[in-house]
C-alpha cells in the first residue's frame, strides 16, 4: 500500500482531470457569457456539453483554445495554465479544436488538408524545407482510414459532402494527436447514417485521449457521452450521466420552460 502511495505519481496524475476549468468568467461589455464556471474533463472521457442557445457553450471552447481571452479564472490543462498562452502554443500543448462550420482548406486536396496538420514544419523555415516523408504519408493514410476518407485522398476538399467535410476536420485534428479534442457540433448537417458512423468514430478515437463535445442532437449525445454537463446562462446547471441529467427537473425547465 505504502509503496503505491509514495512512488506512483503517475497513478496520482491519472486521477487528476486532464482539463480543469475553475472560476472561469468572461465578460463582453458587462455581459457575462461565461460566469464563474467550473468544469473538469477526465482522461479517456467523452464529456458532452449541452445547453440552450446562448448558454455559452462555444464561448467555453473559445476560451480553452485561446480564441477568446478570459476575464477571470483559470484553465489548467495537464498542469499548464492555458489562459496566458498563445493560440498556437495551446495547440502544440495538445489541444485540438474543431469549429462549428466545417473549417477545411477547400482549394487543397484531402491529402494536403491532413498533411497541413501534421505536427512538423510548423515554423517558417521548417515549412519551407518540409519533406513529405514516408512517415507523413503513412500517417495521413492511417488517419484517412479512420475518418472514412481513404478513397478521397486526391480529391479537392470542396468537392466533399458536408458530412465528409466534418470528418475531414476531425481527421485534421487527429493528425496532431491531441490529448484533448474539442468538437463543436460535429454532427450538424449530417445524415442519420453519417451520425451513426460519427458516433462510432468518436468512440474509437476517444481511446487514450479526452474529448469535449458540444452537441444538440440528444440521440447522438446518448450514444457517445460518458458524462454530460448542462450549461445555462454561462453557468453549470447540472452534471452527470445522460439519464440523470435528462430527469433533472431544472434541466427540463430550462429546455421546456422557454
Amino acid at each position: 500500500m505504502k509503496s503505491v502511495a509514495t512512488n506512483s505519481p503517475a497513478g496520482f496524475q491519472a486521477a487528476k482531470p486532464v482539463l480543469a476549468i475553475e472560476g472561469l468568467t468572461v465578460s463582453f461589455d458587462g455581459f457575462k457569457a461565461v460566469n464563474d464556471l467550473n468544469l473538469y474533463v477526465d482522461r479517456n472521457e467523452v464529456h458532452v456539453v449541452i445547453g440552450p442557445n446562448g448558454a455559452g457553450k462555444t464561448t467555453v471552447l473559445d476560451l480553452i483554445c485561446g480564441k477568446t481571452k478570459s476575464t477571470a479564472g483559470s484553465i489548467e490543462f495537464e498542469g499548464r495554465e492555458l489562459t496566458k498562452m498563445r493560440e498556437y502554443d495551446i495547440v502544440r500543448a495538445g489541444v485540438g479544436r474543431k469549429f462549428q462550420n466545417p473549417s477545411i482548406y477547400e482549394n487543397l486536396t484531402v491529402f494536403e488538408n491532413l498533411e497541413m496538420s501534421y505536427p512538423a514544419g510548423r515554423k517558417v523555415f521548417g515549412a519551407l524545407f518540409f519533406k513529405r516523408s514516408a512517415q507523413v504519408i503513412a500517417r495521413v493514410e492511417e488517419v484517412a482510414g479512420e475518418i472514412f476518407l481513404s478513397d478521397f485522398l486526391d480529391k479537392q476538399a470542396d468537392l466533399l459532402s458536408h458530412g465528409q467535410k466534418q470528418w475531414l476536420e476531425i481527421g485534421m485534428l487527429l493528425m496532431q494527436d491531441p490529448a484533448l479534442l474539442m468538437l463543436d457540433e460535429p454532427v450538424a448537417g449530417m445524415s442519420v447514417s453519417e451520425r451513426v458512423q460519427t458516433a462510432e468514430l468518436l468512440n474509437r478515437i476517444s481511446q487514450g485521449r479526452s474529448v469535449l463535445v458540444i452537441e444538440h442532437d440528444m440521440e447522438f449525445v446518448k450514444s457517445i457521452a460518458h458524462r454530460v454537463t448542462v450549461l445555462h446562462q454561462g453557468k453549470v446547471l447540472a452534471e452527470g450521466s445522460m439519464e440523470a441529467v435528462q430527469s433533472n427537473p431544472k434541466v427540463i425547465e430550462v429546455y421546456l420552460g422557454h
Partner: protein, 394 residues
C-alpha cells in the same frame, strides 16, 4: 534531382513555361530590339521583380500591399547612393564649393558627407544594404501589423500611407536624398562605365538572370509546404492558427521576401536607368505594380512578368500618343481585369490558350492537355487554383 526538378521547375509544364519566358527575354528581345528599346525592356523587367513578389504576398498570401514602391525605392536608393559617391570623386567635383560630395548636397550648402552616406563608399555594404534595408523595413512593418492581426484593407491602407510618407520624407530631405530630382548622373560601377550601350546590354542580361532567379525562388517557396500554408491561411486563417501555426510569422516572411525581390528590382533600375527618384516610391507606382500583377495573373509568377511587360509597353505606347488618357485607360484596365479575369492573362491561358494550342500536334507534344496529375505526392505549383473573387481594392 527529381525533387529539385519538381519544386523549382514545377515539372514538365512549369519547365516549359519558364523556358518560353527565358527564351523571350534572353534571346528574342536582345535579337530583335535595338539597345535603346532593350534598355527600356530592361527597365520594365525591374518592375517585374515587384510583380513577382506581389504574386507571393498578394496572390498566395492574401496580403495586398499597396506600398511595394517603398521597397523598390529603398533598394534603388541604396544602389544609387553607392553609384553617386563613386561619381562624386574630388576630381570630377572640383568646381563645387565642397569637392568630393554629391552635387545636390553642394547645392544645398552641405559641406560634409552625412553619416548616413558614409558606409555607402563600400560596394559590399551597398549590396548588402540593397537587400537588408528594405527587408528590415518590411520586417518592422510586418511585425507591427501582423502580430496585431491588422489585415485586409487596413493593411493596404497603412502600406499606402507609408509609401506616401516615405515620398514626402525623401522630397523634404533634399540635402540628404536629392529631393524631388532624386539621385542623378550615375556614371560608373567600380570603375566600369554603366552608360555606354555595351554596358547596358550586359546589365540587361544580369537583370534578366536575376529575375529568372527570383521566379525560381518564388516557385520553390510556393511548392513547399509554406506555399500551401499561405493559401490555407488566405482562405481559413483561424483553422491554420488553431492547427498550431503562428500565422503572423508566415505573413511576415512572405512580405519580407516580396520586399527583397522589389529591392533587387529597384537596384537594377538604378543601374540600368542611371538615376533614382521619389517618383518610383510613392502611391502611384505602387498601385501600378499591383496592376501589373493583376493583369498578368496574381496566382502566376510567370504571368506577373508578362503582365508587367504588356502593361508597361501599353503605357509607353499610349502615353506617347494620348498622355491625358493613359491614367483612365489603366484604371479601366484594372477594373476589367478584376471583374472579368480575376486570374489575369495566366488564367486566360489556363482556360483557353492551352486548349487552343492542344489542337495542334506541336501544342499537344509540348504543352499537353491539362491532365489530372497522378498522386498528390508530386505537389506542383497550384497556378490554376479555382477563380476567386478579388478582394475589394480601392
Amino acid at each position: 534531382m527529381k525533387n529539385a526538378y519538381e519544386s523549382l521547375l514545377g515539372g514538365k509544364q512549369g519547365a516549359i513555361g519558364l523556358l518560353v519566358l527565358a527564351t523571350l527575354i534572353l534571346v528574342v528581345f536582345p535579337l530583335l530590339l535595338d539597345t535603346f528599346r532593350l534598355n527600356m525592356v530592361g527597365k520594365y523587367l525591374t518592375y517585374a521583380f515587384v510583380a513577382v513578389g506581389l504574386v507571393l504576398c498578394w496572390g498566395y498570401g492574401g496580403i495586398l500591399s499597396l506600398g511595394q514602391g517603398i521597397f523598390f525605392g529603398v533598394g534603388g536608393y541604396c544602389m544609387a547612393m553607392f553609384l553617386k559617391l563613386e561619381a562624386s570623386d574630388p576630381e570630377s567635383t572640383k568646381i563645387q564649393s565642397t569637392p568630393g560630395i554629391p552635387d545636390f548636397m553642394d547645392w544645398n550648402q552641405i559641406t560634409e558627407l552625412p553619416m548616413m552616406w558614409q558606409p555607402f563608399h563600400s560596394f559590399s555594404f551597398a549590396l548588402l544594404a540593397v537587400i537588408a534595408v528594405p527587408t528590415l523595413l518590411a520586417l518592422i512593418i510586418g511585425v507591427a501589423m501582423f502580430k496585431r492581426r491588422v489585415g485586409d484593407v487596413y493593411f493596404s491602407i497603412v502600406t499606402q500611407a507609408i509609401a506616401a510618407i516615405l515620398t514626402i520624407l525623401i522630397i523634404g530631405q533634399q540635402g540628404l536624398t536629392g529631393g524631388v530630382n532624386g539621385i542623378t548622373d550615375l556614371k560608373t560601377l567600380l570603375g566600369w562605365d554603366i552608360r555606354p550601350d555595351s554596358s547596358k546590354v550586359i546589365l540587361y542580361f544580369v537583370n534578366a538572370f536575376l529575375l529568372l532567379g527570383c521566379v525560381l525562388l518564388g516557385r520553390f517557396i510556393l511548392t513547399s509546404k509554406l506555399g500551401r500554408l499561405l493559401m490555407a491561411m488566405r482562405d481559413k486563417e483561424e483553422r491554420v492558427r488553431f492547427s498550431g501555426y503562428d500565422v503572423a510569422s508566415f505573413k511576415i516572411f512572405v512580405f519580407c521576401v516580396a520586399a527583397a525581390f522589389s529591392a533587387i528590382g529597384g537596384a537594377m533600375f538604378a543601374l540600368q536607368v542611371g538615376f533614382m527618384s521619389p517618383s518610383f516610391v510613392g502611391i502611384v507606382p505602387s498601385i501600378e505594380m499591383v496592376i501589373f500583377a493583376a493583369v498578368g495573373g496574381r496566382m502566376s509568377l510567370l504571368g506577373a512578368v508578362y503582365g508587367t511587360l504588356l502593361v508597361s509597353f501599353g503605357k509607353t505606347y499610349f502615353s506617347e500618343s494620348f498622355p491625358e488618357l493613359w491614367l483612365y485607360l489603366m484604371g479601366g484596365l484594372f477594373i476589367v481585369v478584376v471583374m472579368y479575369f480575376p486570374n489575369g492573362i495566366a488564367g486566360l491561358w489556363e482556360t483557353h490558350g492551352r486548349k487552343w494550342l492542344s489542337r495542334y500536334s506541336l501544342g499537344k507534344k509540348l504543352f499537353g492537355v491539362p491532365e489530372v496529375k497522378a498522386r498528390v505526392f508530386t505537389a506542383k505549383p497550384v497556378e490554376k487554383a479555382a477563380p476567386r473573387e478579388l478582394e475589394t481594392t480601392p
